[in-house]
């Protein structure tokens, strides 16, 4: 396919020179909705930008269902905690879409302390022909009104309106790290470092505490909650991960307070890999149920693991994301990179898993063929319609032409947030302040 001459191509001259990154523009979360039509991103400045997929049309075959900005709004503002004399960041930690129940779309967005429910509606008609006011809304001079008319709805340019419907505040003492909507579409949970609360979507002034791992004496605190998610099909089951690398599956039917887990998933430590940093690199940064509900995917610092819900002793699959960093853990501890929280994602059929890494690399692992690939999300290496070239990190020994050596990896360019379209092979990659969307169009070439 030749160069894209479509005028809808992005004009790069308008874009900010990306060597200078405004802190507020750093993308902090990416999430497709349930159909994949909408893609929401949150950033450190508290804004949410929603992209909508253009419907594929035969008239413009090269549009290929691309994503364009649909709506932008300010979700959270910075706040100040007067009691502790600390700022509360407006950074959006997570966005979760609610299943669509009518023409409007709804999503939950959260920062460290407050969760908000936003409703996104479209307006494409407006009434015209009022009797008392003119088109601009000014009151008419009554002496000019000679006859009565009935206002009529006329089409107008599409306007997307976003309004906050609920604000779930004061539910958390510690920083919220994850939210998850229940399959019952009525409740959702929010997890902070020590507690998990269950909310009803319509009730904002109270929530139920379902997990509390805060010790009586804070000096005894050695473990925190790092992520949590509801089971996609069973509304009574949820999982939460800890900083010690364990997963706990809890059943809400068992007790009101689910401190006692139903299942504990933990892999015994590998003695040959033991080090000062063993605990830190075992901390789970993200947990995701598979679409089937049979498996869980976890990400710790160096690996992604697939767990079978029926087997607690160890994961069924382990994939090395960047094992070459194992020898650099002390430096990574010093520059805090070891605390980076990478997310992970399943594809729609649960056959491929994806996660980010450093140097704007991201990795994909095919569970069936056991093949993996490293790709790079950067403007230099990605032109529109170009095929991404697999990258390789060399750790010594033979070095090929395009290899990157471990020492020249850029640790400031980290891909923490990735998302996979629920049905198709479309992925969204957040690289600092840039959002990349890649589509696998191999199949579409057939027609």
């Amino acid at each position: 396919m030749g160069e894209d001459t479509d005028t809808r191509k992005i004009n790069h001259s308008f874009l900010r020179d990306h060597s200078y990154v405004t802190e507020a523009d750093i993308i902090s979360t990416v999430e497709f909705n349930h159909t994949g039509e909408l893609l929401a991103t949150g950033d450190k400045g508290g804004r949410v930008v929603i992209f909508q997929r253009e419907p594929e049309s035969k008239n413009a075959p090269h549009s290929q269902g691309e994503y364009d900005v649909y709506s932008t709004f300010q979700s959270h503002e910075p706040e100040f905690d007067y009691l502790k004399s600390l700022e509360i960041e407006e950074k959006i930690n997570k966005i979760k879409w609610l299943p669509q129940q009518n023409a409007a779309h709804s999503l939950l967005s959260t920062n460290d302390k407050t969760i908000k429910l936003w409703k996104i509606t479209e307006r494409d008609k407006r009434p015209e022909g009022y009797n008392l006011k003119d088109e601009e809304g000014k009151l008419k001079d009554l002496s000019t009104v000679t006859s009565l008319q009935v206002p009529v709805l006329k089409p107008m340019d599409l306007m997307v309106e976003v309004s906050p419907r609920r604000v779930f505040a004061n539910g958390h003492t510690y920083h919220i790290n994850s939210i998850s909507v229940n399959s019952d579409c009525e409740t959702y949970m929010s997890a902070d470092d020590l507690r998990i609360n269950l909310w009803h979507l319509a009730i904002t002034d109270r929530s139920f505490n379902i997990v509390d791992i805060k010790p009586a004496n804070m000096e005894d605190l050695t473990e925190v909650i790092t992520a949590s998610e509801f089971h996609p099909h069973h509304c009574n089951l949820f999982v939460y991960s800890s900083s010690k690398g364990s997963l706990r599956l809890c059943d809400m039917r068992a007790a009101a307070l689910c401190d006692k887990h139903s299942k504990l998933f933990e892999e015994p430590e590998d003695p040959s890999n033991r080090s000062f940093f063993s605990e830190i690199i075992s901390s789970v940064s993200d947990v995701k149920f598979s679409h089937s509900g049979r498996y869980m995917l976890t990400r710790d610092y160096l690996t992604v693991k697939v767990w079978d819900l029926n087997m607690e002793a160890r994961p069924i699959e382990t994939y090395q994301v960047h094992d070459y960093l194992r020898s650099k853990l002390c430096s990574l501890y010093e520059n805090d990179c070891i605390f980076d929280k990478f997310e992970c994602a399943w594809n729609g059929s649960d056959s491929v898993i994806m996660t980010g890494a450093y140097n704007n690399f991201f990795r994909m692992f095919d569970r069936n063929t056991k093949r993996d690939v490293t790709l790079e999300a950067s403007r230099e290496s990605s032109k529109p319609r170009a095929v991404l070239k697999p990258r390789r990190v060399c750790v010594g020994g033979k070095r090929r032409r395009d290899d990157i050596s471990v020492d020249s990896l850029d640790f400031t360019k980290k891909i923490l947030h990735t998302a996979w379209h629920p049905a198709e092979n479309i992925i969204a990659i957040a690289a600092t302040n840039n959002l990349y969307i890649f589509q696998d169009k191999v199949n579409s070439d057939m027609h």
């Binding site: 900010r16 804070m218 003695p271 830190i280 501890y333 690939v373 697999p390 750790v395 840039n434």
Partner: protein, 332 residues
């Protein structure tokens, strides 16, 4: 709609990706001289570099906790992980401090190999074996060297700190000469990967417990390991006191001041009972309260008691009632 203003983030619409056969990375284990290289535990200088390395990580951890004053609350997860690291190192130091010197250099390898070989998280008994043996030569001194830097840090005297820690390893080097180690930081890491025994602070404390003497160490005997060993449990809150000070209050300086030998020697006095307010028990300085007399207790209780209490009168209270009230206060 398609032109992006300055406010809207950059969107890159790119083409295809294909799952190709990923090249297998050959991880040459000897390339960096790091992870994976099996080093005999009997390697003397490697123990030295291990101690040095541990000290470095200890310092880094301390600096992370106390030099960083963000505008927003620091991440609790990060704080907990750093605290766990510090505790683990401190437990190791305590272990080493408890072992007496005059230990034959040849004996440790066998014992050390054991915990490494059978290692799992549940191997506390192995811990009581002298794993890093040569370190115990300077045992208590090494401990001291490792402990005092904290207060030295507070005194803004980094030079003393820097020199004291090498002093300990210098003493630890066994007379037998071994091939000179690579001087690099990374090779030291390699040793650590191999030698660092599995431990969690609780296991270390448990291993501590049975070994510890019940009696308190004399004030004039800082070298005595028993004082240092003082029942892992009551000692832990004291030494670790201000570590979790970060959890509740950002500005905490308790850790540095608490870390003196006095704490260790008089650690058998468990003052946690006298923390009247459980909510502030996390702050390091709270637990330094002196023992409270019954009269003081009654004065505090006056507002809560249904019976009028005249503080000036001597008041005989039922012992069980007093216990009950203490329980309520401590919040157990």
């Amino acid at each position: 709609m398609f032109w992006y203003s300055e406010e809207v983030r950059n969107l890159h619409r790119c083409g295809r990706y294909m799952l190709g056969k990923g090249g297998k990375r050959k991880f040459d284990e000897h390339e960096d001289g790091l992870e994976g290289k099996i080093v005999s535990p009997s390697d003397g200088p490697s123990k030295v570099s291990y101690t040095l390395q541990r000290q470095t990580i200890f310092n880094i951890s301390l600096m992370k906790l106390y030099n960083h004053r963000p505008l927003t609350e620091p991440s609790l997860q990060k704080t907990v992980l750093i605290n766990n690291m510090l505790r683990r190192i401190q437990e190791e130091l305590k272990q080493e401090g408890s072992l007496r010197p005059a230990f034959p250099a040849s004996a440790p390898p066998a014992a050390a190999a054991d915990p490494l070989g059978s290692s799992s998280r549940e191997a506390p008994p192995a811990f009581s074996q002298p794993a890093p043996a040569p370190c115990e030569l300077g045992g208590a001194a090494a401990l001291e060297a490792c402990l005092t830097p904290a207060s030295l840090l507070e005194d803004d005297d980094p030079d003393t700190f820097c020199t004291s820690s090498p002093a300990a390893p210098a003493r630890l080097a066994p007379p037998a000469l071994l091939p000179p180690e690579k001087d690099s930081f990374s090779s030291a890491l390699d040793e650590i990967e191999e030698l660092c025994p599995t431990s969690t602070s609780t296991e270390a404390a448990e291993a501590d417990g049975p070994k510890g003497d019940s009696s308190s160490g004399g004030p004039g005997a800082p070298q005595r390991p028993e004082g240092l060993q003082e029942g892992g449990r009551p000692e832990d809150p004291k030494l670790m006191d201000s570590l979790p000070g970060n959890f509740e209050i950002t500005a905490s300086t308790g850790f540095l001041t608490d870390l003196t030998l006095d704490d260790i020697l008089f650690a058998d006095i468990d003052t946690s009972m006298y923390d009247f307010d459980p909510c502030t028990s996390a702050s390091g300085t709270a637990s330094k309260m002196s023992p409270v007399s019954a009269d003081d207790l009654l004065k505090t209780l006056a507002p809560y008691s249904s019976q009028p209490v005249a503080p000036s009168q001597p008041f005989k209270m039922d012992l069980t009632e007093l216990d009950h009230i203490m329980e309520v206060l401590v919040g157990s």
